[in-house]
């Protein structure tokens, strides 16, 4: 079982991203679980969403404290919260940023880093506005590429299910991120 923690800000679509990811992995034949941090969501405040993906039925029903991988939808969160808290050694950190994975030397001591400029992809595809682009679908393309949990086709179906508005543009953004994500296994 892999446990994924998605960090974002209220309004960025972290919860929808988690749902679409779970749905894609389910279509890939996996057992899945997806849930938000159970609170009162406020626009702009840091939020978390959790995804479990497994070959076996998932029985654990608590929140994820020690994730295998973390996703960071908003690079400004890197300065406000410790996104590596509980992260297992060797786990992936997938960040929405224009920087290259190599610029995260501190993270790379214990973890693997992948980066993708999901903001630019979202803006190019007119997802959200320039000030508040909705980056959740773009980053999904990077996630399935790096973690290898679903195919592009399965992801496209997952996105259509949970992000039905502008579905085509969202799928296109995900596919672009799939191609553009920067990472290397040995990292």
């Amino acid at each position: 079982m892999i446990e994924i923690l998605i960090h974002g800000r209220g309004g960025q679509g972290a919860v929808k991203a988690s749902l679409a990811l779970a749905s894609a992995a389910s279509k890939a034949g996996k057992y899945v679980q997806s849930f938000p941090e159970f609170g009162v969501e406020r626009r702009g405040a840091p939020v978390k969403a959790f995804t479990r993906i497994s070959d076996e039925p998932i029985v654990v029903r608590s929140k994820i404290y020690d994730p295998d991988h973390v996703i960071v939808l908003d690079p400004t969160l890197l300065h406000t919260i410790d996104i590596t808290k509980g992260l297992k050694d060797g786990g992936w950190i997938i960040i929405n940023t224009e920087k290259s994975p190599d610029s995260f030397t501190e993270f790379k001591k214990r973890f693997k880093v992948a980066t993708v400029n999901a903001t630019k992809i979202a803006v190019d595809n007119r997802l959200g506005s320039k000030v508040a682009p909705i980056v959740n679908t773009a980053i999904l393309g990077a996630i399935i590429r790096v973690l290898d949990v679903a195919t592009k086709k399965e992801l496209a179906e997952g996105i259509k299910e949970f992000v039905p508005i502008k579905a085509e543009a969202n799928v296109k953004a995900a596919n672009e991120a799939y191609d553009l994500v920067k990472f290397s296994e040995e990292a």
Partner: protein, 385 residues
């Protein structure tokens, strides 16, 4: 068809597939998503139910009682404060012997204001004459709504299908949504023997003298007893048709176990992972999940845990001035048991939505296993002193 859906939406699908005819409900977090989806289903024609927006939960149940009494398959859903507000009508629904099915999302009671899970809301309705089913995953939630009608309509008592706030209500997972034609074969239309009917007028629930009131109550208890058989039989039948079997309790690795953990709802689901982990380490532990709390499965509990070395009960609820409620009832099941009564440890954990993680459950197990007997009737897990 397998779909990734939230627990709340599993309820909506369960109601849709049961072809409910009336839905009267009032929104409350974390139940709102249930009725939101049902109102969409009625608006877009997926469901033919009459959807009534009411001004309170008391009215929601009053309306549901009315439509059920007139012969409709009636549904509603609520949570916490809402369930408390409909309390009077809960007695009415059961006393009038109406096979209503209601989903209750287990949310702790205020104050302090809270939206997170525990079981004190539904357990406060323990003595109303409703059957109570505590679910551990979204699939069970959907299936239990359908099963709820199948059982309720045979024993003429209402069913409360209960799911944990957020840990189920707002958690998405893969759920097999059965074909409605298959469900139709399992659940035929509701045809009550007695209903409100202008062509066969009667008075309902009129003044009932001490001469006969007690007999009505005797009959409710008789039906609750019968419900145990019906739940078991229909749970098996459901398994034959849909591949998922349900009973009053669920045993997990209990057979050769000497220590049994008793839990319910999502805590019981998480506990399986702990049982597996401890088994791998060579410890003889097992899990008894209480799925149906009313009618209370006394015989099953005694059969599974009688003669064991130790029993540990985790309660996500408390009866103030006594103990955890499941603990109290499990203990009570043994008083007249003549066999070997195992020592019982009752832990309170996870109130107000505090997470009951595998680590928390493991610590509870380790704590009880190292002790000969509990130092007190109530053991608080994780309370900060």
């Amino acid at each position: 068809m397998k779909k990734v859906i939230l627990g709340d939406h599993a309820v909506s699908y369960g109601a849709l597939l049961s072809r409910v005819q009336t839905i009267a409900a009032y929104p409350i977090t974390p139940q709102t998503l249930i009725i939101e989806r049902l109102s969409e289903m009625t608006a877009n024609g997926e469901s033919n139910a009459i959807f009534t927006k009411v001004e309170s939960e008391h009215s929601a149940m009053a309306s549901t009682v009315g439509s059920s009494a007139s012969g409709a398959r009636a549904f509603t859903a609520t949570s916490s404060q809402g369930l408390a507000l409909m309390h009077e009508m809960l007695h009415w629904a059961a006393g009038a012997r109406l096979p209503i099915v209601m989903a209750n999302v287990n949310r702790a009671m205020a104050p302090g204001w809270t939206i997170w899970t525990d079981q004190n809301d539904s357990l406060s309705a323990r003595d109303t004459g409703w059957m109570q089913i505590y679910c551990q995953n979204n699939q069970e939630v959907l299936d239990s709504i359908i099963l709820g009608y199948k059982v309720s309509e045979q024993v003429n008592l209402p069913t409360m299908v209960i799911l944990d706030a957020f840990f189920l209500s707002h958690t998405a997972e893969g759920v097999d949504i059965p074909d409605i034609k298959e469900v139709d074969k399992f659940l035929p239309p509701y045809k009550p023997e007695i209903k409100m009917d202008i062509n066969d007028p009667r008075s309902f629930g009129a003044l009932t003298s001490p001469d006969v009131y007690m007999e009505f109550r005797y009959k409710m208890q008789e039906s609750m007893d019968k419900a145990k058989e019906v739940i078991t039989r229909e749970g098996k039948e459901f398994g034959k048709m849909f591949g998922r079997k349900y009973g009053l309790v669920e045993e997990y690795r209990t057979e050769d176990a000497d220590t049994i953990l008793v839990a319910s709802a999502t805590v019981a689901s998480t506990a399986r992972a702990v049982i597996d982990e401890m088994r791998e380490a060579g410890q003889k532990v097992g899990l008894l999940r209480i799925r149906v709390f009313r009618p209370f499965p006394t015989e099953e509990i005694v059969r599974v845990i009688g003669g064991k070395k130790k029993v540990i009960v985790i309660d996500r609820n408390i009866s103030f001035g006594k103990t955890g409620i499941f603990f109290d009832e499990v203990k009570g099941a043994f008083y007249n048991y003549t066999g070997n009564k195992p020592p019982m440890f009752g832990y309170i954990a996870g109130l107000g939505g505090r997470d009951v993680t595998p680590k928390v459950i493991r610590e509870i197990m380790d704590d009880a296993i190292k002790k000969d007997k509990p130092e007190s009737e109530i053991l608080w897990k994780g309370v900060k002193l």
